[in-house]
Symmetry: C2
Subunit: 128 residues, 2 copies
Amino acid sequence: MNEQIPKPTEAELEILQVLWQHGPSTVRFINDKLSEQREVGYTTTLKLMQIMLEKGILVRNTDSKIHVYRAAVGESDTQQQLLDKFVEATFRGAAMKMVMQALGNHKTSPAELDEIKALIDKIEKEQK
Amino acid sequence: MNEQIPKPTEAELEILQVLWQHGPSTVRFINDKLSEQREVGYTTTLKLMQIMLEKGILVRNTDSKIHVYRAAVGESDTQQQLLDKFVEATFRGAAMKMVMQALGNHKTSPAELDEIKALIDKIEKEQK
DNA sequence: AATTAATTACGAAAAACTTCGTAGCACAAA
DNA sequence: TTTGTGCTACGAAGTTTTTCGTAATTAATT
């Protein structure tokens, strides 16, 4: 079956976010993006990405001297995996409590609320 | 203002969960509870709780020789704090995307769905 | 060709987090 | 009293994660 890829660390997740958002990228590009938010050395980013490569979280193309990395894990899959663990650790598995808290505290646009309503309707129909 | 208490680590969060669930407890009690889920040494738990005390995450009563610890941080407050960071790190701040993913993947009871609907209605009314 | 600039590789230090062993103390049991 | 049990304190080791410095290589520039 599928090789078990480890849960990314926080720093690794930042790199994945850039890759998911912008597609395959060089270390330079990723480091530039990360640097917009916080100070981070080039070799620090490089080393992290090499580690992620070893773990199977990233793959890379080495045709050129300038390697191009891309995520080997899907965004939604990873988010789901992290979400499950988060709900378990933080809300003792009570996903609905978390949803309520997220809804209650966030300024949600009418369009988004409608989306959620539609989703709920869909789920309710399936349960009948 | 409020002293800034650091975000609990994973191991610390496990201890907080026991305290939130059962109220003020001894190290022995907490360690027993944690041991139900995974092997963990007594002094390991003790040390962690002493560190949490230093950080201000816990407080304790030392009237008796057997110290009684309790959480110095509220469950909902902490959950909210962790939720905000999680949404930011994992969903780039897209709380609604997370909610949809949580709803979509969880077997949600009709009662729970109704609760969410009610909450949405309430939010929509407030926005008018 | 020589110099400069940008890149990868990689060991190792630094920092953060977790686990453990031992000492010391208090109280109960023998 | 002596022994045993259970607790706290705490340094330190172990592990994981993050950061950094240096060397080597390649490509571009002069």
